[in-house]
């Protein structure tokens, strides 16, 4: 009996360790919870990418329904991957899609949008990257869903996919529509 305990116990511990490590493999360390969740969008006032257009101001995004803030750059390869999806949802009138052009030369960004299309209602430029750090951005693309009260409800690091859209963003838009 004593011997059986001595064989079963290590095997049991090994199985537990195996399960814990297997769970660790499924966990993507790049997906981090945002510090901004359920907190107001940080203040920003960014010059527009389009000459003569008004600045993109955080204060003006409050109280006007849902806003999607998409951080992108012409240098960012995976931004191209999500661009067709942005082009499609940019036509949706239930929310406003705004872009923050991060650490990018304005002429490059304009070139990029001329080539692939411009889905954004408004674009602010963040060449110094200060606003991106206030948002806790770790890489482009990154998307924030901001509700009508100006609170951040969701952060999506990396490119948007139809699956993320249907499972995470669409429910937030519907919820916000019901509330208003």
């Amino acid at each position: 009996m004593q011997l059986r305990m001595a064989t079963v116990l290590p095997l049991g511990l090994f199985a537990v360790l195996g399960v814990v490590l297997a769970m660790g493999l499924r966990h993507d360390p790049k997906v981090l919870p945002s510090m901004l969740l359920d907190r107001p969008l940080p203040e920003f006032d960014l010059a527009s990418l389009k000459i003569g257009a008004p600045n993109l101001k955080s204060s003006e995004l409050k109280g006007k329904g849902v806003t999607l803030v998409n951080v992108f750059g012409s240098w960012c390869v995976s931004c191209r991957y999500e661009h067709p999806l942005l082009m499609r949802v940019g036509k949706d009138t239930r929310f406003k899609l705004v872009g923050i052009d991060w650490k990018d030369a304005p002429q490059d960004a304009n070139q990029y949008l001329a080539t692939y299309g411009d889905p954004y209602a408004q674009i602010g430029t963040d060449e110094v990257g200060r606003t991106a750090i206030d948002l806790g951005v770790s890489g482009a693309p990154e998307t924030f869903v901001v509700d009508a009260k100006g609170r951040v409800r969701l952060r999506v690091p990396g490119p948007l996919t139809p699956e993320i859209w249907d499972k995470q963003i669409e429910p937030l838009i519907k919820e916000s529509e019901k509330a208003s």
């Binding site: 360390p29 790049k30 981090l32 919870p33 945002s34 510090m35 650490k103 110094v128 990257g129 200060r130 991106a132 750090i133 206030d134 948002l135 806790g136 770790s138 890489g139």
Partner: protein
């Protein structure tokens, strides 16, 4: 021949002192610059994840180094600078996780395991029959 070998080894592994801080980023006050270096070494680069922002050449790491220096110049204490960054990126940016409720297991597990192992060893050894003085040589002979 040996000499060449050691030179190659040195070139392969001798990059430990490389830092990413550029001269134009540095603060004029050397005391403040030292503080900035200390802080930068414990902040994680969000792009390369296991490098500190002091070591990383990523543009985001550079932006964060500049912010650390700005906060120091503005008169922030080291803790205030760290709080500024943690406020935006969470505890994840700290290369050494703080001791708090959700990290207690992480910090205490080695000690818990140590106590369990020592306890198990103690119980096991106590169960062994105390050998009598005359038996020792016999036991050794039997085992061999």
């Amino acid at each position: 021949m040996m000499r060449k070998f050691f030179i190659v080894i040195f070139l392969l592994f001798g990059t430990g002192l490389a830092h990413a801080v550029l001269p134009e980023e540095m603060l004029k006050d050397s005391g403040q610059e030292l503080r900035a270096r200390d802080i930068s070494q414990v902040l994680r680069c969000l792009v390369c994840q296991n490098q500190s922002i002091d070591d990383s050449n990523a543009p985001l790491a550079k932006d964060l180094r500049i912010i650390v220096r700005e906060r120091i110049s503005a008169g922030d204490s080291n803790d205030q600078v760290m709080a500024y960054v943690v406020n935006r990126y969470g505890n994840y940016v700290l290369l050494k996780p703080p001791f708090q409720l959700d990290t207690a297991l992480l910090w205490l597990l080695p000690f818990i395991l140590m106590i369990v192992a020592l306890g198990a060893a103690f119980l096991y050894l106590r169960q062994q029959p105390e050998p009598e003085a005359g038996d020792i040589s016999n036991e050794i002979l039997k085992e061999e």
